[in-house]
């Protein structure tokens, strides 16, 4: 009996020691990273405490929100929502052919798939605010550069999601359709896309939500929407008006969050 338990006990102890070593190593690594980062970023709690009166001062000037301007904020708010819709629909339209070209099971050539995927990844890594700033300096202030910026970033993101959705389609589906003598185009149209559709719709809804959030801040660089009203109000020291913008942004984003979750639960 004791012969049977002792080796397993010693194995258990060895495993425990090993686990403890791992925890110690990871903790040490995290502490070193934290130290290096707080040194590099000038992290300074006393500075935050010293700054608290400034925050208090700003909060006092911002509160209460000026509700009389709500009426004139409706237009930029609606504009923000519209930017998100157009940006998402255009991105989905662009991402569909790109996704088909990038997916291993539908791409006409592996080299093309790799190239398209690289382009999508690059689009995805550049934040929409950077696109917006570049486009504003190219075509001027307004919603147009904002929509283009949202479209570019979301095309990268949706393209990746669509590629994954297409690649996750069960190969027997397309094999069955191929067996009827269908062309490549027919296989994609009748076999692959219908199976990938629910996932693609769900990720499009996700990006609609994402773009709604992003479109509220594009105004910071002059690319339209309620963010622009907010920034102008802050720069003109009309703080209560800025607060009204923030309140509206928070409310509308919470609403979109709900709607998107409800719709996504229905398509999947």
């Amino acid at each position: 009996m004791s012969n049977a338990t002792e080796p397993s006990l010693s194995i258990a102890f060895a495993r425990r020691r090993e686990l403890r070593m791992q925890v110690v190593c990871v903790s040490l690594g995290v502490i070193v990273l934290a130290g290096w980062s707080s040194w590099g970023t000038g992290f300074d709690i006393p500075q935050l405490i010293a700054g608290l009166p400034n925050i208090y001062d700003l909060a006092r000037r911002m509160l209460p929100p000026d509700l009389s301007v709500i009426r004139e904020l409706i237009r930029p708010l609606v504009e923000t929502l519209q930017m998100a819709v157009v940006g998402t629909v255009l991105a989905a339209g662009l991402a569909l052919p790109l996704g088909i070209l990038a997916a291993n099971n539908t791409s006409p050539h592996p080299l093309l798939a790799v190239t398209v995927r690289m382009c999508l990844n690059t689009l995805r890594t550049i934040p929409e605010l950077v696109f917006a700033l570049l486009l504003v300096s190219a075509v001027g202030l307004g919603t147009f550069p904002g929509v283009l910026a949202l479209t570019l970033h979301a095309t990268g993101g949706l393209g990746k999601f669509f590629t994954e959705a297409i690649e996750s389609v069960n190969p027997t589906v397309s094999e069955a359709i191929e067996a009827t003598g269908a062309t490549r185009y027919q296989v994609i149209w009748f076999g692959v896309l219908p199976s990938a559709l629910p996932l693609m719709m769900s990720s499009s809804l996700f990006y609609w939500e994402y773009n709604s959030r992003a479109s509220t801040i594009l105004g910071l660089v002059g690319a339209g929407g309620i963010g622009f009203t907010f920034t102008s109000a802050m720069q003109a020291f009309e703080y209560p008006k800025a607060t009204s913008c923030l309140v509206l942004i928070v409310l509308i984003l919470a609403m979109i969050d709900r709607i998107s979750a409800w719709l996504r639960a229905r398509v999947i």
């Binding site: 519209q82 147009f144 339209g224 907010f230 802050m234 942004i249």
Partner: protein, 268 residues
């Protein structure tokens, strides 16, 4: 013997099934919303064609990238990385108490639960870059306000996600620990934490990726990182410098994205 079905008849049947009233309704609704949004944002093909020469001009000025500024960019790039790491570490720690009190099965009182939820909602309600704007007012320009902005937002998100994970845990281990007479926080430590930890680590790693992306644009409002370099370069129409900064952003985000994905696969 069954009559052979011609291929065209088969496809016709598929198409007929595809165009069900419900689907047509959804397609129509999407079209109407898109039309409304496109009209509101004045995005149109003529507008795009009119803008193309200017966009082309900017792209022309962006190339070739001015690699001589690479040396000067190394500092801001490291700072961006550090902002992301530090903010994620602090937010991960802060999210644990918030997640505890925002979980309905753990909070000592319903009011505590509602209060914590409300705080988390406010944290998540406003985008990082707007928090950045406020913290710049409070503590001045630099990376520190950037860290604070990311901490606030990601505490809001990780806290909420953790609370949801805690609410969804298996009741068995909780009952078992509670039956030994353990206090509430011991129940959490031994009955709940082991169940939610992998999910929690996954969220933290995901938000590390997210925070690094955000850290690249916080500089637009003066909150540190490479965004400031990027912002001044584009504002001064030094597009070839901006391209270098954008390339650095692409490389940085790609590396962090890969690392975060790799860690998530190992820990979960």
């Amino acid at each position: 013997m069954a009559p052979a079905v011609s291929r065209n008849a088969l496809y016709g049947e598929v198409l007929r099934r595809r165009w069900r009233p419900r689907r047509i309704g959804i397609g129509f609704a999407v079209l109407v919303v898109y039309w409304w949004a496109a009209r509101g944002t004045e995005v149109s093909l003529p507008e795009l064609i009119r803008g193309l020469p200017n966009i082309g001009k900017v792209i022309g000025q962006m190339f070739p990238p001015d690699l001589s500024v690479l040396r000067g960019i190394a500092g801001p790039m490291l700072e961006t990385l550090q902002i992301g790491i530090l903010a994620t570490l602090i937010a991960s720690l802060l999210a644990i108490p918030f997640g505890y009190f925002a979980a309905s099965n753990m909070a000592p009182h319903r009011l505590v639960y509602l209060g914590t939820r409300a705080v988390l909602n406010v944290f998540r309600g406003v985008s990082e870059i707007i928090w950045g704007l406020f913290f710049v007012v409070a503590v001045g320009l630099g990376a520190f306000p950037g860290v604070l902005a990311l901490v606030i937002f990601s505490t809001g998100v990780i806290g909420k996600l953790l609370a949801e994970a805690v609410e969804a845990v298996d009741r068995g281990p909780i009952e078992a620990v509670r039956s030994t007479g353990a206090s509430n926080w011991k129940v959490f430590l031994y009955g709940v934490w082991p169940q939610v930890m992998p999910v929690y680590l996954g969220y933290c790693l995901y938000y590390w990726d997210h925070n690094t992306r955000q850290a690249t644009i916080l500089g637009f409002v003066g909150a540190g990182g490479i965004g400031y370099t990027l912002f001044t370069a584009i504002s001064n129409y030094e597009f070839e410098k901006a391209t270098t900064a954008i390339l650095v952003v692409v490389v940085l985000i790609t590396i962090v994205d890969r690392l975060s994905w790799w860690f998530r696969r190992r820990f979960m």
